[in-house]
């Protein structure tokens, strides 16, 4: 009876087939099973992953120390390749963060109900990814302890930042993005922290969660303002996320380097960001929903929808590649054409073909429902997409720089161990934060899932009933 009810309610969306929530749930069971992974003692798998991630963070600390002691010379950057791994990693991480905002804000505005179970997770990813991203330009300044020079403050030097530079736009864009994402995430968390506070068994837990819950008591007078505030923050985050990657792409597009100076960069970067971000969410969600026991709220329908978005954004990215090459040829500009010819035939062609394989070919598999609903396929594809998107940024940055206008200045870039350790270290740091998040904070937005459950159960009977499978 319960299953029938759920299936009937779900069939109201004529195109929906798989349910958004499995089994008959109510507020009590949801409180129990969504918070269970927070109360459970960490198991061996978590501890082992955490140790590996923590060693990654340690490696990051080591690489940062070497960079600070020796200077940027510890990296493989040279003239003409002044930007290499650092900016590649920066753009890659920022892009990964964008899926979080897309899921939490844009899908919220479009009232996509399937967003509810995965938004908390993706927002956390945004925050951690932006933290990793910010590290690279900071270190690349060479003297990060003077990084505050970039902010407009009345200094004794009597100088102000130069606001006509895209690099200063970036400072404002990334710091605003981080701040707004954090506020949005925390605002959404408050009811769940209160839920943790009041479901906790020990005094310590009650106190710690109590501090962060700010005394939330589910008051109707609070919800009244809270709902509006949350909606407005979602509304603001939506153009913000587009602006951030647009400004990141301006770092390149506003310059005069062939291969960078193109008008397609802003939309092409935003599409790439969403593409890689969804892939990263997928790479984490597939194991997390298994190990945290969240399969009843993060269902196959969620995963399938995400794969559809990966396919759509993958096509957008492919279109970007196509237009970039077409315009390079059509413009008749020999420098522009040379860059693209060199990408496919030059010394970095391996990275270029890997990029094409991962970003253009791999997502095509999601045309097939069997692939969209197969856990191993989507997991491997999501990893490949992440690899591909990293390659894309490497190709854009390094291949455009290493062949300067003057053949006499041509040079090759090879990463040093410090470059590689920094990159792998940020993956470790990201994983450390993410594993801590999965341990101490509910991985799904409990309050929102309860509201969704209520809606699913009380949805009015549809006029045209489509028989549910």
């Amino acid at each position: 009876m319960a299953a029938e009810h759920a299936a009937a309610a779900d069939a109201a969306d004529s195109l929906d087939t798989a349910p958004l929530m499995l089994g008959k749930q109510d507020n009590t069971t949801l409180t129990g099973n969504l918070l269970a992974h927070v109360w459970a003692r960490p198991d061996k798998g978590w501890l082992l992953s955490f140790l590996i991630a923590l060693s990654g963070s340690g490696a990051l600390a080591l690489a940062i120390t070497v960079t600070l002691v020796e200077g940027i010379g510890a990296w493989g950057n040279n003239i003409p390749v002044g930007w290499a791994f650092d900016i590649t990693n920066f753009v890659w991480w920022i892009g990964i963060g964008h899926a979080g905002t897309l899921i939490s804000a844009i899908l919220f505005l479009f009232q996509q109900r399937w967003r509810t179970a995965i938004n908390r997770f993706s927002e956390a990813m945004t925050i951690f990814a932006v933290m990793c991203a910010g590290l690279f330009p900071l270190l690349h300044t060479g003297r990060p302890w003077f990084a505050y020079f970039m902010f407009p403050y009345p200094s004794t030097l009597q100088m102000w930042p130069q606001f006509k530079s895209p690099l200063i736009w970036d400072v404002f864009a990334v710091s605003t993005y981080f701040t707004v994402s954090l506020l949005f995430w925390y605002l959404g968390l408050i009811p769940d922290l209160a839920s943790l506070r009041d479901a906790s068994k020990s005094t310590l837990q009650r106190k710690v969660y109590g501090i962060f819950a700010l005394g939330w008591r589910g008051s109707g007078r609070h919800w009244h303002n809270y709902k509006v505030g949350y909606l407005l923050l979602a509304g603001l985050s939506t153009p913000l996320v587009v602006s951030v990657h647009t400004i990141v792409s301006f770092d390149f597009a506003v310059s005069l380097i062939p291969g960078w100076h193109t008008t397609i960069f802003p939309p092409y970067f935003v599409a790439g960001a969403v593409f890689s971000g969804f892939a990263m969410v997928m790479s984490w969600m597939v194991p997390a929903r298994h190990f945290l026991g969240l399969k009843h709220v993060i269902t196959m329908r969620h995963l399938e929808n995400m794969n559809k978005i990966i396919l759509a954004t993958g096509m957008l990215v492919s279109y970007g590649y196509l237009m970039e090459h077409f315009i390079a040829w059509y413009s008749g500009n020999q420098f522009e054409w040379f860059v693209f010819f060199n990408r496919a035939t030059g010394p970095y062609r391996g990275v270029y073909y890997l990029m094409l394989f991962c970003n253009v070919l791999t997502p095509q598999i999601f045309w097939f429902k069997r692939a969209r609903t197969s856990i191993p396929i989507m997991f491997i594809a999501s990893i490949l997409v992440n690899v591909g998107m990293w390659c894309e940024r490497f190709v854009i940055i390094v291949t455009s720089l290493h062949r300067d206008f003057l053949p006499a200045s041509w040079d090759m870039y090879y990463p040093t161990w410090v470059d590689i350790t920094l990159f792998l270290g940020t993956i470790g740091f990201f994983s450390t934060l993410f594993l801590l998040f999965l341990k101490f904070i509910p991985a799904v937005a409990v309050s929102e899932v309860k509201e969704l459950n209520e809606e699913l159960q009380h949805r009015p009977a549809p006029v045209t009933v489509v028989t549910g499978a």
């Binding site: 530079s165 009041d198 007078r221 407005l232 509201e451």
Partner: protein, 187 residues
């Protein structure tokens, strides 16, 4: 002794609490309780109730105006900041571009607009909700811990001196369970 106690400590606010079986029952009860003249009521639920704002008689939220104020401040503040710094205080000639270069100032103007609007929403919300407020009289009742998990509670704030018997009786009549009267601890 009794006499001394009465005058020594100020009396905290008193609330009557009652738990309803569902969100709809709680929303219905709100209308009925308000009909009887209890206006200082509040609902407590794990998620926003459908029709809860109307049931409590709440008007339009002030948050949009706060957001607009913050956004406009960020927009004009950000733009004027750049004009002052790059065109008046320290005009810099970068590649012959004019010191006051509107197109180049747009991206940061946008970012400061969003930043200030978001900060004002967040802190404006906290101010409107009077949070953080770690202690509230309703937490005196142990069963109230369900309010953020699976309970639907109604709280009626009593005027000073009232014993709350009429409110309790009304909640009882409306089908509330776990009815109790809590008093703010003044310690």
């Amino acid at each position: 002794m009794e006499h001394a106690a009465e005058h020594a400590a100020p009396v905290g606010k008193t609330f009557v609490l009652g738990r309803f079986p569902s969100g709809e029952a709680l929303v219905d009860a709100c209308y009925k309780v308000r009909e009887k003249g209890f206006d200082a009521i509040d609902t407590h639920s794990p998620y926003p109730l459908h029709g809860g704002d109307e049931a409590l008689g709440l008007g339009r939220s002030r948050v949009p105006r706060i957001a607009l104020t913050g956004g406009l401040t960020g927009m004009f503040g950000g733009y004027l900041m750049m004009v002052y710094m790059n065109a008046f205080s320290w005009p810099l000639n970068v590649g012959g571009r004019p010191p006051h270069a509107p197109p180049s100032f747009i991206p940061i103007t946008f970012e400061t607009t969003v930043l200030l609007a978001s900060l004002s929403i967040f802190f404006g919300l906290l101010a409107l909700m009077r949070l953080p407020q770690p202690y509230h009289a309703v937490f005196e009742h142990e069963g109230f811990r369900s309010a953020v998990n699976d309970g639907f509670w109604l709280s009626v704030a009593l005027p000073p001196g009232a014993d709350g018997k009429d409110a309790s009786a009304l909640l009882q009549q409306l089908g509330a369970k776990e009815i109790s009267t809590v008093q703010e601890s003044m310690e």
